[in-house]
Amino acid sequence: MKAIYNRLFGGTTGVVQLGILAAILMIVLPLSLDIFRLNLVGKYLTYAFVALGLVLLWGKAGVLSLGQGVFFGLGGYCMAMFLKLEASDPISTKIQSTPGIPDFMDWNQITQLPAFWMPFKSLPFTLLAVVVVPSIVAFVLGVAMFKRRVGGVYFAIITQALALILSLAIDGNQGYTGGRNGITDLRTLLGWDIRSSHAQYLLYFTTCGLLVLAIVLSQWMLSGKLGKMLLAMRDREDRVRFSGYDVSMFKVFTFCFAAALSGVGGALFVLQVGFISPSLVGIVPSIEMVIFAAVGGRVSLLGAVYGTLLVNTGKSLFSENFPQLWLFAMGGLFIAVVVLFPNGLAGVVELIRKKVSPFLKNLRTSSTLPTSGSTPLPSPDKP
């Protein structure tokens, strides 16, 4: 029991830290922000799923992917396809030349729903696809790359190319994907209006809940033998291999898991924001996600969440006031973090804790000293 608790939460410190995060997300923010701002936070939190995956993949397994937007996008598009089909019932689309299909298909002279859209009429299938489709893509790519020992910069470049290819492919096939505009006008989920503030609250809390679950699950994975193997692999990959482990499969698994997390994030994004477009899939968002993880501290699960929230808050404040400067600020921030704080926010917090904790200890001992001094203990030589 105790062991399970330690593995899920990382001991008492882990519980406290996770508790603080959960309290900020689920109590402080909902009480202090209006629904518009809260919805914005909810959107940022969907990126945190990607950042969490990057902590596992980049921080823990040592594999940097610059294409995580692909998996975010795949999850998002799966969800969007379901919602779009629901929004395109024959009655609301009766003015189209082919009623019952998404509007952008009709604009592109498509007269029949393409076969790959069909299964997305089912919600259970869609929910499964949100996790499974990104995982399958990651699996195929991962096996192809890691079995050949492609890693480091080459892997980063290939994932980046994938992000480019996917965003161009979506962009170029408007009839099937909605093209550059993406899939828009998503309104209801099984008849439930997802744009009402009631729904937005519920979706926000769902996002928080799933994020906490994702953190706990990741923590559980890392705390066991798998976590040690990832650490060992970063240390001495050859030694792991020649101890009878198929190193590539550990990387493939982590890649798939990170992809699945990103997919969930993408689906939650679509539910909260109401659209998806190729601009969320390509190179820029993929790199931004890496920056979120780097700012938070690429080896810290919680750090990734804080990093994502902070950078995005900064981004929206900045771009409201000085829109042209944001990209420079972002680039500068990234360089500053990499050069000055390679472990990001989590590293800074750790540093402060190390500096402060002996100080606190001093405080505690010095505050107990006078009390023991003022009431001297009866000494044995004075009966």
């Binding site: 066991g224 060992a232 001495r236 050859d238 030694r239 020649f242 009878g244 198929d246 190193v247 499969m249």
Partner: protein
Amino acid sequence: MNAKTDFLLYIEDLGVSFDGFKAVDGLNLYVERNELRVIIGPNGAGKTTVLDMICGKTQPTQGSIRFKDRELVGMAEHQIVRSGVGRKFQTPSIYENLTVFENLEVSYPKGRSVFGSLAFRTTPEVVERIHQVAEQIFLKEALDLEGAFLSHGQKQWLEIGMLLMQEPELLMLDEPVAGMSAPEREKTAELLNRIRKGRSIIIIEHDMEFVSRIADTVTVLHLGKILAEGSMQEIQHNPNVIEVYLGH
């Protein structure tokens, strides 16, 4: 090729060339069960390369390596390990960021698949085995120490211990006493004589005094070929060997 032999390891006509340079050339090597074989030879003779080929790190360009009558050439590294071949590297390779206990724990041959590792639990049986091995490799007191804090000699022992955890039938050690002090060498010889029971061992070593204390058979490698093979006595009196190796 069908080798009807009792040899545990049966190497025929093994060779590899790197850009035309033949690092190992037409090597035949037969290791019996329970044998302790030492390979010696001057620097660059190809000793490490032979081990690399046995454990799948380097693909040979010719020849065959049969272990327990199974062909190893072409098998994946982890499969070779799982079939019972353990290998220590020339520079000690341990996990510096894990404790001695954890180093041994991750070497335990269970939970080697991804999902196996998720389900793996450090049972009392595993702990027992770790303590047993730690005792053998003189690191019982250092179980909680991180690998980075071990001395060079202790790292060598730990890596041997990590192999022992896997109970390999063939243990290959590349210069296990390099960089060790005299007392440490003493203890290592003692360790090797203890762990050789029930398995075959191939050791690459330069230290002649050490070799003479442990070897059954010595193979001398020179320029990728076998120069001589025999007991330490025979080797020490072989004029060819004296010329190329012991002479300088």
